[in-house]
């Protein structure tokens, strides 16, 4: 399946591939992955990238790699996914160490959200945020989302459900 490329002012969103396994492994080996299923071994990171691609094949949407346009650096991952455990499609973001504090997660997730509304025709989106992950909650706030409810997720434990503004508000 062809995964679209989305450009923002500073970032490029594109599909993940085998060349990203090293970066993904570095993320999952770091403390930053503690809220999203880490740490993972190299093997598991390889499989995590395969899973991201498989999600696109199965559902026609999935998460993007985020690249810094100026350097080509792998900045993180954002996009929608929909495992059985979530009540509806969820927009997530993971940022690599060293790229915090630049507004990259907000910029990338906003572009992914626009794509969900425009290309997939979704009417609404949620984000699941670990209550201890203050940085992620700040991104949700900057995106205009509001903490709507709490949800006991079977893998991630208790998460906050943040509801994003709909297509008309964010366009």
């Amino acid at each position: 399946m062809d995964i679209p490329v989305i450009e923002t002012e500073r970032l490029r969103l594109r599909g993940l591939g085998p060349d990203d396994v090293g970066a993904v492994a570095a993320f999952y080996a770091s403390d930053r992955a503690k809220y999203v299923g880490g740490p993972k071994t190299l093997d598991a990171s390889w499989r995590a990238v395969a899973t991201e691609i498989g999600h696109w094949t199965l559902k026609g949407f999935g998460r993007f790699a985020i690249e810094e346009k100026a350097t080509g650096a792998f900045v993180g991952v954002t996009g929608p996914w929909e495992p059985p455990s979530f009540p509806e499609p969820e927009l997530g973001w993971d940022l690599m160490e060293g790229f915090e504090g630049k507004g990259y997660a907000t910029e990338a997730a906003a572009a992914a959200r626009d794509w969900c509304y425009r290309a997939l025709g979704l009417a609404t989106l949620i984000s699941a945020v670990n209550p201890l992950n203050a940085a992620s909650a700040r991104v949700a706030e900057r995106l205009g989302a509001a903490h709507e409810s709490d949800f006991e997720h079977e893998l991630f434990g208790l998460v906050q459900i943040w509801r994003h503004p709909g297509p008309e508000a964010s366009s």
Binding site: L42, I53, G54, T57, E154
Partner: protein, 168 residues
Amino acid sequence: MTEALSITTERLRLRPIAPEDFPHWRAFYATDHSRFVGGPKSEEDAWWKLTQFVGDWAMSGHGFWSVETKDGDYLGRVGLEIAPNWTAPELGWSFLPEAGGKGYATEAAAAVRAHERRRMGYDEVHSFIHPDNEASARVAQRLGAAPDVAIEAPWAEHVVYRHPPEAA
């Protein structure tokens, strides 16, 4: 992305893994029968596993097939997987309990091994098998593979079975 080509054997049809297979994956991972391949797993984890197997094809150009009878009854999965730190492409198989004892795994794995050697030119093919997994060890032996303790498997406690070159 590389599409899994369909393979037909005397009794079996091998086709790409599809979302419609999920109920079988859920059933397979729900019981202790899946203990040698990371199970038992919840419905959620079984879904992620299926998603990963679908994505494997795009990652590495090979992966797993769903195996069914010619009447379309789902039996299990067979295929080749490779990750960066593995010793060689790994030929693996997992079948539903009710599909056991009929030689289906051997028939399907032999077909995939021959098909992938032709297509990808592999000489070295391994299977990583847990020492307690006697059923899988028997399949490996029927395939002409033998344990090689000199090679360390990338998964803890597993034994590397080496497949014979150009096995029929």
